[in-house]
Each structure stands twice: as C-alpha cells, then as structure tokens.
C-alpha cells in the first residue's frame, strides 16, 4: 500500500522553481532519504508534505486521501525540525503532551502515552526539565518523542542530526533506524550527508536543482549511478572518460585514452555512446610495476600504469592520488600493507564488475 504519493508536484517561489515535477511513491513502513545539496528542493518537498507550503501544481496523497490543500494541523504528520523547535516555555513532559492535548486525549491516557514514549527514547526522569536544560542529544530525542507520541501516519525528519557533534551523529543514525522499525512508521529523512542516507534508508532519492535524479536502494545508488552527478554526490568516485565500443548484455567494452577498458553498464546506451566509467576508490588496486601480481587474479582485467602524486594516511587505509594519464588523476584507497610513496611508479587495476558505465548528459 502506498503511504505517500507525490504526483507531478511543482513548487515555484516567484521566478525560482524549487521543485520541478516530482513524482514519488512511498510504501507503508518504508524509510526514504531525500539526499541532495542545499537548495535542491528536498526541504521544500518535505514542507509541502507537512502542509507548510502549498504546491504550485500537482497533488500530494497521504494514504487514500488527497491532502494537497489540507491545512497542516489536519495531516497527522509527525515532524522533527532541524533546530528541533521545542517549545521553550514548556517542560519536556508538556512538549510531548502537546499533540495529544490537541487531539483531546484524556489526561490519564496522555500521562500513560507520554511515559511510554519517554521510556522508548530513554528520557525518563527528565520530564520536568525545560528544553534549555537539556543536551543536544536529549533535545533531539525529545523532538522525536513529541513527533512519535501522536501516532502519525508519516514521520518527517528535516536534517535531524545536523546540529549534533560527529560522534553523537553516528550513534543517532542507528538509533533512529531502530526506532523507525520498532514503530513501523513510513519515514522521510532529509539530509545532505550521503553517508547518513546510505546507512539509514531503504531507498534514497537523490535530488538536484528541484528534480529527482535517481531513486533506488543505497547499493543501487552507490554501485549503479545513473548520472555522473549522482555518482559524484554519493561517495567518492573516479570518472574515466570513455566511448563504448560494444556490449554483450550488461558487459561492455570501451576505449579510452588509457587503452581498452571493460565494465558493466545500464540498459539503453549502445555502441558509440559517450560517457564515463565510474570506479570507486576502494575498488582500484595498486601494485608494483616489477611484477604482474595484480593481473589476472579476481577478474582484474583493466590495467594501467601511473605515478603516485600524493598520499594521505587515514588510519585504516591510505588515500592515494595516482596520475595515470594526461589530466587524469585517480583517487585510490587501499590497505596500509603495501605502502607506496609520492613519486613511485605503480600499476593500477580494477575488475570489470567494479566499473559502471555512466552516459554523458547529452547521450
């Protein structure tokens, strides 16, 4: 069953088109992340679903109901704001009870439900505190509890972790995911942090310039990006310019300034298509130039030579920048067991299964 349905939704602010013909369906219980740079329209879309903005054109459905013109207070969406928007003049308890009071829930029932949700977000004992007496993480959980206690049809999270420090952010990702599954609630999670989106979401919708670039599972997005922009935005990527020579099913053969290369590609583009091979830094393997150690093994058919230009020690791995051709430097991340240094001549290889063809925009 479809929980949220956006049908050709457009939002214009004056001459600026913030959201451009967006179509999207969310299944019941699904967590979908809206991912994109700031100003891509992801927050505007969320605000339209919540009812804070009215679309210029198109329709918004929640379940079986067309809510396009319904005012915000009648939509039963729980929302967590980026700054949490906790009521400063009310205690934690009264903040969480607010939505239930609006629904005219009896007082003892309110007490029971607030206690129960406070247990779930581990805030019991802090009922009588005011928001300013809470840490960032506690404020965040209060905001979550306030949104969840009303049993909303959908949960809307607008960059909920943006104001937390790095360590807490990491913990809260898993926490939010667990909570969402426990409540089984359809959730939209807006973020500009691709690692957050990949960790949390069932599906990720990448938005740019008000348009949906690609929607898919985190693995789809990471391994099979449809455009160079998506490949570039989601994780680190090397884009090697190529022209497709021939294809056989998903396997393709390309030619490039580095010689012939093999990879995989989406349905559609055929021979002579221009584009890039996208290869993730962790899928590129380095070896010395003396032996052909890396060739042949584990399907590493693509081989080239290069010179290490820079290296950075990242602890668990080393981040290299290797120049493999004129104006083409590859980012390679590998284990620390075979360290190379700036100026070393190296061989670079990658498996054809790890290279994905991305057509250029015109094609």
């Amino acid at each position: 069953m479809t929980a949220i349905s956006l049908r050709s939704v457009v939002k214009q602010f004056g001459d600026v088109t913030a959201v451009d013909h967006l179509d999207l369906d969310l299944a019941e219980g699904e967590l979908i992340a809206f991912l994109g740079p700031s100003g891509c329209g992801k927050t505007t879309t969320l605000r339209m679903i919540a009812g804070f903005e009215m679309p210029t054109a198109g329709q918004i459905w929640l379940g079986e109901e067309d809510v396009t013109w319904l005012s915000a207070e009648k939509r039963n969406c729980g929302m967590v704001f980026q700054n949490y928007a906790l009521f400063p003049h009310l205690t934690v308890y009264r903040n969480i009870a607010f939505g239930l009071e609006m629904r005219r829930v009896p007082r003892n029932e309110i007490a029971r439900r607030v206690r129960s949700v406070l247990e779930k977000v581990q805030l019991h004992g802090l009922e009588e505190r005011y928001p300013r007496q809470l840490s960032g993480g506690q404020q965040q959980r209060t905001a979550l509890a306030r949104a969840l206690v009303i049993n909303p049809n959908v949960l809307l999270l607008d960059e909920p972790l943006a104001n937390l420090d790095a360590k807490l952010r990491e913990e809260m990702r898993f926490y939010i995911r667990t909570l969402q599954q426990e409540f089984g609630i359809t959730t939209i999670y807006v973020t500009h942090d691709q690692s957050e989106a990949l960790v949390l979401a069932d599906r990720v919708a990448v938005m740019m310039g008000g348009m949906l670039q690609q929607i898919g599972t985190p693995e789809d997005l990471y391994r099979r990006p449809e455009t160079a922009k998506v490949a570039d935005f989601v994780g680190l990527v090397n884009l090697i310019p190529v022209r497709m020579k021939e294809r056989c099913g998903a396997a393709i053969a390309c030619e490039s300034t580095l010689g012939p290369l093999e990879g995989r590609g989406p349905d559609g583009p055929g021979a002579e298509a221009e584009g890039w091979l996208s290869v993730r830094p962790e899928n590129l393997h380095l070896s010395g130039t003396d032996g052909a150690a890396a060739s042949g093994t584990d399907g590493t058919v693509n081989q080239m030579r290069g010179v290490v230009r820079e290296r950075a020690y990242l602890g668990s791995l080393i981040d290299y920048r290797v120049e493999v051709g004129p104006a083409l430097t590859l980012r390679i991340q590998g284990g620390a067991e075979a360290p190379y240094h700036a100026g070393d001549a190296v061989a670079v290889g990658f498996a054809s299964a790890d290279a994905w063809f991305v057509p250029s925009e015109e094609g």
């Binding site: 207070e73 009648k74 906790l86 009521f87 003049h89 607010f98 609006m102 949104a147 009303i150």
Partner: protein, 272 residues
Amino acid sequence: MHRSIGSRVGRVAYGTLIVLLYAFLLLPIAIVVIASFNSGNYLRFPPQGFSLRWFRHFGETASFTRSFFFSLRLAAVVTVIATGIGTAAALYVTRTAKRYREFLRVLMIAPLPVPAIITGVALLIFFYAIHVGTHGAFGLVVGHTLICLPYVFLIVSTVLANFDRTLEEAARNLGAGPWTTFRRVTLPIIKGGVISGAVFAFITSYDEFSISLLLGGVGTTPLPIQLFDYLRFSFDPTAAVAGVISIVMAMLAVLVTERLVGLESLYYGRRS
C-alpha cells in the same frame, strides 16, 4: 608600574562618573520625596520638620482623589486598548505586511516624534469637526491610546523580530489550529514584550500632560492637570505628595513586570 597607576586612576574616574550620574538622576526624586514629608506650608527644600499632614491633605481633597482614580481608570482602559492594538499591529507589520512594511512602521510610531501638544490640538479640532468625543472621557481615551501605541508596538516588534517561527509550525504540525497556536505558543513566548509594553503604556498614560490638558473636561480631569491647576494658586507640598504617588506607582510597575516576566523569558523563542 605606570600602567597600574593609570588603570587605578581610570577606575576611580569611572566610579566617580557613575556616582555623579546616579546622583544627577536620583537627587530630584529624593528631594520630591523629602519635600512631601514637610511640615511647613510651602513646597521648599530643605523641609521644615517632618509630618504626614500633606498626605492627609491629598487624601482629604476630593478634587485630588477624584482625579487620581480617574487617572488610574483612564490608564487601565488605555493600556488594554493600546496593548491589544499595538500587539496586533506588531504581528501584522512584522509578519504579513510586505511592500508597505516600512511605511506602516513609521506610521505606527509617528505619535512619538510629533509633539504631544500638536497631536492634542489636531485631535481637538478633529473631534469638534465631527462632533464626537467632545464630552466625557472618549477624547482622552483616543488621545492617550495614540500616544501609548508606539511603545507597545516597538517593544512587541522587537520581540517578534527574534521569534523563531518554526515553533508555530511545530504547533501546527502537532494539530493546533492558527488560534490555538497563537494562544498556546506565540503569546506565552512573546509575553515578556507584551507585558513590558503594557507597563510602558500605563505609565505613559498616567503621566501624560499635554493631551490631557486639551482633551480633558469637567469631571474628566487627570491627576497631572489637577495638580497643575492647583499649583497655580497654592504652592504647598501636596504637589510633592502627588509626585511621590507617581514614583511609587512606577516602582510597583517595574516590580510587577519583573515578577511576571522574569529575566528568563528574554531567552525564550530565540532563533538558535
């Protein structure tokens, strides 16, 4: 060494300046208070002996008590009207008005820079032209409201400029309609500004002279006018008593604000 001497001189100079400043501000008030306890027959300083006779005289003079209670009632009515209109106007100008915002803002505070006597004359001519407000307290209420509005408007506008509107969105999101959102979220958070504005309006109305002089009438004489009339014929310490009452009222107002508003509410609803 030189530096420490220098800083010491600076500190002493600074302290002296502060003492002088407070003396300049408070001495006249102190003199009025002392003069009100004078047992002599004339308003003068230093007083001749101590007595409460002029307080009794104030209380026993019907024209004074009548004016005093009239001033209180007038100030109360004006405060309610000015606070209501000023708050509503501040909400509108800060949030809704777009193209005419600055124009409306200037219009709202216009009674402040225009001399009150001019406003009074204009109102008097206007009231006589339309035959409204020439009798009773209506003219006074309108005139005082006009003078008090800018204070409420300015203070509430300042609080609203710092107001984080996502709080209202959060309330709407939780199921509160526009009116409930205003009553349960907006108003409690801007309460400090509204109360401060109301206190300002009350004191301004209570002390207003020029407009009262022109628009007051028989039976509707505010205390400052009554005092002025009285001083023209008898220069005794009753005037100082009225002054003391004014001072006590102002202090009470400040205390009440402090209790109702508190310092903490200044941090409410700020954008983070």
